[in-house]
């Protein structure tokens, strides 16, 4: 990586292109693949839905940790000095949330597909595509020097918002319609 004397938004182009490719691929696959209705899942829960609901809820927990650790790192929490291990917390909570979201997304994509039957399912389908694209952009952006100062907070914010939106349009909806089930 060459030294960048000035921050330049153009350095986001390659990560953005890669992220867009991820989002579009997910959407196209979800639309073209005929939903099977069933997919491989975790044992121990009463239905595939409850597995997903709780995996997504666990991901939400780690994503909230992401927000807290990011605010601390950027010195946005008054009277809190970020401890030296905050970076590790941020990295590993992010990885954990990402890995938890993958089986949920695979089940959505394979068993249910991109759904447009209701505002909730349209929003959920779009956010699902956005989340993995935005996550790809964020990861690739981390490896580049010379990014504008707003780049990482903005990308992190998009990833955070997408996952919270995904949780609200699925798990929260499930808890509020079917009740808290395991």
């Amino acid at each position: 990586m060459t030294q960048a004397p000035f921050a330049h938004p153009g350095r986001l182009l390659v990560p953005l292109a890669a992220g867009a490719a991820v989002s579009i691929s997910l959407g196209v696959y979800g639309r073209l693949h005929t939903p099977t209705g069933i997919a491989v899942n975790l044992a121990g829960f009463s239905s595939p839905q409850t597995v997903k609901v709780w995996l997504a809820t666990a991901a939400l927990f780690f994503v909230l940790l992401q927000l807290g650790s990011a605010l601390a790192m950027f010195g946005k929490i008054p009277r809190v000095v970020a401890p030296p291990w905050i970076g590790a917390v941020h990295r590993w909570s992010g990885r954990t949330a990402f890995l938890l979201a993958i089986p949920v997304a695979m089940h959505c994509l394979y068993a249910l597909g991109f759904q447009s039957g209701s505002p909730r399912t349209v929003l959920h389908s779009l956010l699902g595509c956005l989340f993995f694209g935005a996550f790809t952009v964020k990861m690739l952006a981390l490896t580049r020097r010379g990014l504008p100062g707003w780049a990482l907070p903005l990308l992190g914010g998009v990833v955070f918002t997408a996952l919270v939106g995904l949780w609200l349009s699925s798990s929260f909806w499930f808890f509020s319609t079917a009740g808290i089930k395991f």
Partner: protein
């Protein structure tokens, strides 16, 4: 390179996703079955439920030969669903026994269900809607997603044996069109009667005569045979 971690995270996630995809592809039966084979499961299925709890008397109308019915609760248990398959034709009925119901017809070909609704009753107050049911079926289970009038249900229900099935009756009662639909599963019943498109809970059918008296008029219900449905 400044950080390798983010790249490793992405590669790890991609690997995990590909492993899951491979498992899914292995687990999904890919070979296309003859529609007839799936539609008329043989009696060799070991999980055929006993008809316990049902009146020992034979039903006056038996479920049409060649019709396979899958029935049970949707995921979450908020409604019951039954899907009847005969040849390449399929019909599905979802109801909660109060006012929500959806009636769909379509095709069952090579293990894939594709149904659409001709009318949707009581769901979110909408009488008309583009309901769809997509899913799969085999000799034991039917599974998939039903979307109607802005709501979505997922299900995985078992093949059931007659007299379990979908029963339907219609009549003109004092110039009102009355349509009743019931799901019978192993001795239990749930159904909705609509009178001029207003849905209400249906009283249970007499299991001997498949009839019920509503408002002084007797409705005679018959098992649904998708092969003889119009459209």
């Amino acid at each position: 390179m400044r950080f390798k971690g983010p790249i490793l995270t992405l590669v790890g996630g991609l690997t995990f996703a590909l492993i899951l995809l491979a498992l899914n592809l292995r687990a999904t039966p890919n070979r296309p079955r003859a529609a007839a084979e799936s539609a008329a499961p043989t009696s060799s299925i070991g999980t055929a439920p006993a008809t316990s709890g049902v009146s020992p008397q034979r039903s006056a109308v038996s479920v049409a030969a060649g019709t396979a019915t899958y029935a049970g609760s949707v995921d979450g248990g908020s409604a019951s669903i039954a899907i009847a398959v005969h040849g390449t034709k399929a019909a599905a009925y979802l109801c909660d026994g109060r006012r929500t119901e959806a009636w769909l017809t379509g095709t069952a070909i090579a293990g894939t269900l594709a149904l659409t609704s001709r009318s949707v009753g009581g769901v979110a107050g909408s009488r008309e809607g583009n309901g769809t049911l997509t899913g799969t079926y085999d000799g034991t289970y039917a599974a998939g997603t039903l979307t109607a009038a802005g709501r979505q249900w997922t299900f995985r229900v078992k093949l059931v044996q007659p007299p379990s099935g979908i029963y339907r009756a219609s009549a003109n009662v004092r110039n009102a069109v009355v349509v009743g639909t019931w799901i019978r599963v192993n001795g239990t019943q749930v159904g909705v009667i609509t009178t001029d498109d207003i849905p209400t809970a249906a009283p249970p059918l007499d299991t001997t005569t498949n009839s019920v008296t509503v408002g002084g008029v007797t409705l005679n219900a018959a098992p649904v045979d998708p092969a003889t449905l119009p459209g």
